[in-house]
């Protein structure tokens, strides 16, 4: 049973997006996603300043077994990345919704308009597989 906090929204490709007080959007992968990937051993984060369209492959999370793309849940500009992941990729496994965040975006449109799922709907999707 994976954890799905209700203070953020989710992409069907298993990323979460949470609006911060300063209007930026923090992005990471869901608890369900980290469980499915297994022990992460490498995270490749995007360059700060990169412009992303919704759905762009912008980061890579690698488990022992395989590499998986992370897709931008909203369009925007990368304003910060989680530098701690270069030394401690396991933070994504241990704390996917806080210490394991991947990047922060300055969104090019309000989050409310993005095609994202509410927690309950994402939980149903994750449950199904």
């Amino acid at each position: 049973m994976s954890n799905v906090p209700t203070d953020r929204k989710y992409a069907r490709s298993h990323e979460w997006a949470r609006e911060e007080a300063d209007g930026t959007v923090q992005v990471g992968i869901s608890d369900h996603a980290q469980q499915a990937l297994g022990d992460l051993v490498f995270v490749e984060v995007p360059e700060v300043g990169r412009q992303l369209q919704q759905g762009d492959a912008c980061a890579v999370v690698e488990s022992v077994k395989a590499a998986s793309d992370v897709y931008a849940p909203v369009a925007g500009t990368v304003v910060a990345v989680n530098e701690a992941l270069s030394q401690s990729p396991e933070l994504v496994n241990q704390d996917p919704y806080k210490a394991g965040w991947i990047m922060r975006l300055k969104p090019s449109a309000p989050l409310a308009g993005a095609d994202l799922l509410e927690a309950a709907d994402y939980a149903t999707l994750a449950e199904a597989g």
């Binding site: 297994g38 022990d39 490498f42 022992v64 395989a66 590499a67 270069s86």
Partner: protein, 365 residues
């Protein structure tokens, strides 16, 4: 749904993530692949390898048959119980499979082949055995566990009667013995000491539970893969297959060209490749930068391109390691190559496998 081993329900009960492997539903991990890996390097872990295929070859001409069939020479096996690693080749020296053969007695050899190739191997062996008047029997009545790690042998032996325990602990490396209902062999695929145990299928569940009770960590195919790669051992289907020959797969040491008059399947093609020289070699790679090598990635060398055949993150080294097939001219140990990882070209150093053996790192980091 794939084929299931007798331990399927136990894997599910332990919370294993099950995946398809060569047509079998097998556990890839029981939670943390890295913890499982370290359990084997530091103490003891166990793997259900019942998907592998045990074949008994029996008859007066069994030795003659296997000397014709295999690239390694079973005449090297002088003592009962001794095992040998070999390739089984096509006429063009393409590798049909890699296997272990145990010499049980002069009329009885036991061959263990890979899961994904079992049906093709059996057909190949039976066809060639026809003129030898042999029994080639698939031992579907046997399940197999690999119990590996520095503590593995003593924990398994504690389940045996005192005389059998002494016999098991007295086995030299690459020897096996029938002890009661179990065939216990000091072999493995992890680079650690340990046993592989063949037991009747109806008793393997009990053995599994007893080993769990002795804190032998259940380990899945994920850890099995990182352990074997650290140990520099090839995986059939990744590092070699029917399109590759032993000499380009790091397996020269398993080909017995002597005696010169032993005719075995693939010999002529192998000799031609040996005499021609050059070609490709399988080497170890240690990535100098932070990224992870994966199979099928392109390897850029001064002598032309090669390919990663197996790549992973090594839990013991905390670095990425790989096996790669590269032009022979670029196969020298210490050489630098670049690996194409999503368009970037980080550097890797050519090293001689194994990377790790008996818990010790054997390459310079």
């Amino acid at each position: 749904m794939g084929r299931r081993t007798p331990l399927y329900d136990q894997h599910v009960a332990l919370g294993a993530r099950m995946v398809d492997f060569g047509g079998w539903d097998m556990p890839v991990n029981y939670g943390s692949q890295i913890e499982e890996h370290h359990a084997v390097r530091r103490a003891a872990g166990m793997f259900d390898v019942s998907h592998m295929c045990v074949i008994d070859v029996r008859g007066a001409r069994a030795a003659e048959f296997l000397r014709m069939l295999l690239a390694n020479d079973i005449a090297r096996l002088k003592q009962p119980g001794k095992a040998l690693y070999s390739c089984m080749l096509r006429e063009d020296a393409g590798i049909l499979d890699d296997l272990i053969v145990y010499f049980l007695d002069p009329r009885w050899y036991r061959v263990v082949v890979n899961a994904g190739t079992r049906d093709a191997d059996l057909a190949w062996m039976r066809e060639r055995a026809q003129t030898f008047d042999l029994e080639v029997r698939e031992r579907k009545d046997l399940a197999m566990l690999a119990v590996q790690g520095p503590e593995a042998r003593s924990r398994l032996a504690s389940l045996l009667t005192p005389p059998d325990a002494r016999s098991a602990l007295g086995l030299a490396n690459f020897f096996g013995a029938q002890l009661g209902e179990w065939f216990v062999a000091r072999t493995g695929y992890t680079g650690e000491d340990g046993f592989e145990v063949m037991v009747p299928t109806d008793g393997v569940g009990e053995l599994w539970k007893q080993l769990l009770g002795l804190a032998v960590h259940p380990c899945g195919l994920g850890a099995r893969d990182t352990l074997r790669l650290e140990a520099g051992m090839n995986l059939y289907g990744n590092d070699m297959d029917e399109s590759t020959q032993p000499l380009e797969s790091g397996l020269e040491w398993t080909v017995a060209f002597e005696p010169a008059d032993r005719a075995f399947v693939g010999r002529a093609a192998l000799e031609a490749a040996r005499d021609a020289g050059g070609g490709r070699k399988l080497v170890g790679l240690l990535l100098e930068d932070r990224a992870i090598m994966r199979s099928h990635q392109r390897v850029q060398t001064s002598a032309g391109d090669g390919t990663v055949t197996s790549g992973t993150f090594s839990p013991t080294l905390a670095r990425s390691i790989a096996l790669a097939r590269v032009p022979a001219a670029a196969a020298g140990v210490g050489g630098q190559v670049q690996v194409d990882i999503r368009g970037k070209l980080p550097s890797a150093r050519v090293v001689k496998p194994p990377f790790v053996r008996h818990g010790r790192i054997l390459v310079d980091l």
